[in-house]
Symmetry: C2
Subunit: 513 residues, 2 copies
């Protein structure tokens, strides 16, 4: 075990994974990267890519025991693809696979059985939820899962650390030669930003669609030149699950208070001026912030140059009102956003590498002024946990959290100070996803703490009418109400490795007792 730059103990090596590099600081690792590329089997004139079913596709890709397959999570909890593919793979008797979806969710519960059957041996993902997550936390896998951020996954794929043998990608519309997009069809998801990276780098790419259209289906998010096979199925997903309540307007007074503080912090931060850029989530507080900001933008005649990341219908409204000039969309959070991408000229689909890969020649988060991020926990070093719950069980996703925090000039964490009678501000978070040195301000319903590294912000805000505290004071405030929670009991077994976006290991997740 070695201690990394934020004091977490990281094993030097893990069986089946290899040597690990401990986290050394958010911008400490700047290698010259030689990207890898896929092994391509050329397609000549007259050859046919359209296959009769999934089984034929799996057969043709040459999928074998021990290989790595990938999926995207643009269908969120409405995804049919992962279960559909794994079921056929299981029938075919292929075993010991590593699955590397861009994320996993409740609907992927059947993976538990595939693990028990030996079909799935390892998992690399941004996040995992529900029963599968609980089983993983309890130690169902012999090898730890690898948790990556969206930018980190793109980096790992492009660098060859995550080599994908076969990508199985569900697409809402596709022609018989593989030109696909996400904004037309009967099951739309909008941006295919995560899938684009898999298509570009996997050796074999199989597209699965329920909406086969005439050639050429352009503009193509995934182009024919990257696609080996196309399979038509009756349904790729459930629209209700894809779009389920991702975005809602809050009436919760705590969330509204946090949003009010946040809007004020942004307004007074020095970054709120014409041409600013912003990323914000789809949680209640984030949406409320955007609503308050909208009023201030109109009042002061300030327009944003771009909004980034997961795009919500709310941002689409502000774009159509002329308040946000461009939308950079790596994931469309709701139907309004999904439809807009095929319609609004300045609503741009971007891939996860363009979005946040720290090892390309300048990803979009580098140009971000303000990001509003949530937290399950934050500690007095400003380290943030968005992956494990207060019971130590995995229940979230790394997402773009650490990517945007690192890129943005102002990274704001919003969270209630106490959640379900448990403090969110703690001495040490269970699991670090985002290192404190990249976090600038914590905003809770009971007070605001500025990272001491940002002396400029402390100076700027000292005379503002805001409830400012040190983060230690906030922690004490929380504990004074709830008491100090009992520590979670873990075994020694490591069930998850948390990779920082640059490929170093920032933390490990242990088996719960």
């Amino acid at each position: 075990m070695v201690k990394n730059a934020i004091g977490r103990y990281i094993p030097e090596e893990i069986e089946n994974i290899g040597k690990l590099n401990p986290y050394a600081g958010s911008f400490n690792c700047k290698p010259t990267v030689t990207k890898i590329s896929p092994k391509v089997t050329p397609v000549f004139p007259g050859e046919n890519k359209l296959l009769k079913d999934i089984k034929e596709a799996i057969y043709k890709t040459g999928l074998k025991d021990g290989m790595t397959i990938s999926f995207h999570h643009h269908f969120r909890n409405g995804d049919y693809i992962v279960n559909m593919i794994l079921e056929v793979i299981s029938e075919l008797g292929i075993r010991d696979l590593t699955i590397a979806p861009s994320s996993l969710t409740d609907i992927h519960r059947p993976i538990i059985q595939h693990i028990k059957d030996g079909v799935v041996k390892r998992i690399e993902t941004s996040g995992v939820r529900g029963d599968l997550a609980e089983e993983i936390s309890k130690g169902i896998l012999n090898t730890p899962i690898i948790i990556r951020s969206h930018g980190g996954r793109a980096r790992a794929i492009e660098s060859g650390e995550l080599h994908i043998d076969v990508a199985f990608l569900g697409v809402p519309s596709c022609d018989d030669y593989g030109n696909a997009n996400g904004f037309s069809g009967k099951t739309i998801c909008g941006s295919l930003g995560y899938a684009k990276v898999d298509a570009a780098y996997a050796d074999k790419v199989v597209l699965i669609t329920d909406n086969l259209v005439k050639y050429p289906n352009l503009p193509a998010s995934i182009p024919q030149t990257q696609v080996d096979y196309v399979v038509e199925v009756s349904s790729i997903g459930d629209e209700k699950g894809i779009m389920s309540g991702a975005t809602r307007f809050t009436k919760n007074p705590r969330e509204l208070l946090i949003a009010e503080y946040t809007a004020k912090v942004i307004e007074k931060s020095g970054y709120f001026k014409d041409g600013f850029s912003i990323q914000s989530g789809s949680g209640g507080a984030s949406l409320a912030v955007a609503r308050f900001l909208r009023d201030k933008m109109i009042e002061k005649n300030i327009k944003a140059d771009f909004a980034l990341g997961g795009i919500t219908g709310q941002f689409v409204d502000m774009h159509e009102e002329g308040l946000i000039r461009n939308l950079f969309d790596t994931q469309s959070f709701d139907l309004r956003a999904a439809e807009s991408i095929g319609k609004n000229k300045a609503h741009f689909e971007i891939d996860a590498s363009f979005y946040a890969n720290p090892h390309n020649k300048g990803c979009a988060v580098n140009k971000l002024d303000i990001v509003i991020l949530s937290a399950l926990e934050i500690d007095t070093d400003f380290n943030v946990n968005v992956i494990t719950g207060s019971d130590g069980i995995i229940r979230g996703a790394s997402g773009g959290h650490c990517d945007t925090a690192a890129g943005a000039k102002l990274a704001i964490i919003v969270t209630p100070l106490i959640r379900g009678r448990i403090p969110t501000v703690v001495d040490k978070v269970n699991t670090v996803i985002t290192p404190g040195e990249t976090v600038d301000i914590l905003i809770t319903d009971r007070g605001i703490a500025i990272n001491p590294l940002r002396k400029d912000l402390i100076e700027r805000f000292k005379n503002e009418d805001l409830p400012l505290f040190t983060i230690e004071q906030l922690k004490e405030k929380a504990e004074s109400i709830t008491g100090k929670p009992d520590p979670i009991e873990y075994t020694d077994k490591i069930v998850g490795l948390v990779e920082y976006r640059d490929g170093t290991i920032i933390d490990v997740i242990r088996q719960i007792k």
Copy 2:
């Protein structure tokens, strides 16, 4: 020397280049290709890409003696970039470079001096014209130039055979982070289809623009994630040279006759039906064919699914009229086309790999029904020369000639039977660019010959009112008028290697006496 599949003698090895693979048939070579990728130096938040001048850019890229640099030819004879960069490189004392532009033209005459000075040691290009071409034909370089098709160049770059250390790419509009396009600015060229490949695969990418715009300049033909540096200069090219008379309507009766025959051949070929696809050049006969076809399309209510390749204003008109549903544009031949690409939703910019790389998972030429191509010479095996003149001197470009002939279901060669008192149909062409097995029909002003390999077409056309001959008959017809021309006298020295699109050597060009 070994004899290749069309009977041309190819050396087994060339100093400074290495072992050569002789051409073995148009679809004989189907390797599993592992693409290479660039060495990327990551750009972190806050880093600046905008440099003060070319000299600083060259210095920052680490350009050294013996490296390979590349350019694109979207500015055609109005290009300022190649000469501008080489002048600074020459001043800096850097020597022995390989230059690998996508093509070269008259305006690049100053390269002659750079060769004499030892700055330029080798050239790899699609074509070369004017004084520089003449000097090359006379043997100014010690190592043969390599001629590649547009698809072949993309293949060579992606496979690593043509490794680009630094790409210097002129762009009509660009922001300070490297998002660039070709359709806005004061010196527009439309599609940046060739440049896109260089940007994706060169280790270092420098964009040069005379129109620096606000971030983000999207949609970007070249994205920020591929760009190291941006330099602003006063002018990147001369609009007159960029757009100079590329397209014109012919009044030449011979060209009109050829066009009339061609339109009729297409109409009766079996490929002229709703949803067909076509590529056609910017020469007089080609434009006239499109004009005749337009009438037939309206008459029969037939619409094309796409037009491919170099796009002309004429195709834009037909697109806007609803006659061609989609335009796939790798190079915009005139101002009308260049403007359309930023405006018409179904006018798509495609890169040279999507266009014609035989070793990706299915390039666009694979889906092409009909292509109309020109020839300097064609021989009785239907092999076509578009690179060397009747004096043996280089005066043309490989372009997409062999790519589209290989991909299209119907490859038509149009040429006058006699040009400048010299027959175009000959026993053996000086230089083979496109192998006869991929050519289907020759149409001249004095008769039409169908490739005997296409028995189906011979059968189909036998009762049509068309002047059909064997190609040997056409050759004799020509010679009966002009006499048999004297053979060109060459030395043994090889001044050029002609690569077929798959990387094999289809022919060599020798030094003229």
